[in-house]
Amino acid sequence: MLFAALNFPPIGELVDWKKFGPGGLNKPALIAVIATVSTLTVFFLAGRRKALVPTGVQNVAEATVDFIRDGIIMQTMGPEGMVFLPYLTTLFCFILVCNIFEVVPLIQFPATARMAIPLFLALFTWVLFNYMGVKKQGFFGYMKSSLFPPGVPKAMYFLVTPIEFLSTFLLRPFSLAVRLFANELAGHLLLVTFAVLTDTLLFHNSIVFFKPIFILPAAMDVALTGFEVLVAFLQAFIFTILTAVYLGGAMHPEH
């Protein structure tokens, strides 16, 4: 009856990697190192010669900085947010390169599909926006503006304050980390599922008549690879813009 045995690898095998270097260096750690070094190299090479008309690598770097400035900072924080341009550019480039390794042949794993990297970035953002809020408004001013939003009837604060506390101080870093992590893991699982289907139909299929069906999951895998490039870019953008929104909200309370 069963013409092909579908052997889906257990989840531990999909996200766990052998150590192959000193200090427990494994594939996600290697990807993170590559992301750091390649971003540094691009921006270092671009910043060395300050040509008026940019060429080559300088074009890439200037387009990225322009995108962060016009697409993210100006839309959410305004001109005062320019102090965060280096942080947001670093964040965007690091997450984008980590994500894009999902579709690079032979590596094919997004480093952000392990919880550690998104969690660290989200906690760093959390510390940063709380620090900026306390610095700009003072501790009590920041607590007042974030826990007691203006324009709410006095009696409603019994309900509103706990919800605001939960959503601002606990759920923000959690959802920021989980959003990036789950998107990347889901994309990786999707690609793996169709790759396993293709492999099963083509190589572990006892009925020759059914072999040509492998075209369908293979075509789906190709289409999904394109989709995952979009997701990688979009998730880097969303993480960065949410960081900018949180920073802007901490610096300028609602009136």
Partner: protein, 90 residues
């Protein structure tokens, strides 16, 4: 009839039952978690398209806000996905 008799002879391991129930719960749970965000993202994107069609000059701002709205709405579905992974594979 013989099938029924055969079924009564099977001894059921409680560990396997638990595993099966976990898989059923994971599937139903993720399906339920995807309903609300699905409707929500539809509303967000639909209204963003209406806004862009009415005021094409504000398209950039609307698009940024749309992605923000999608990100907040999508978080619930993704938490559902994480719960699915936890229930199914641990």
């Amino acid at each position: 009839m013989s099938l029924l008799l055969a079924a009564t002879n099977v001894t059921i391991n409680s560990k396997e039952v638990l595993k099966g129930l976990g898989a059923v719960g994971a599937g139903i749970g993720y399906g339920a978690a995807a309903i609300g965000p699905g409707v929500g993202i539809g509303i967000v994107v639909g209204n963003a398209i209406t806004a862009m069609a009415r005021q094409p000059e504000a398209a950039g701002m609307v698009r940024t806000t749309m992605f923000l709205g999608i990100a907040f709405t999508e978080a619930l579905a993704l938490i559902g996905f994480v719960v699915f992974i936890l229930l199914k594979f641990t």
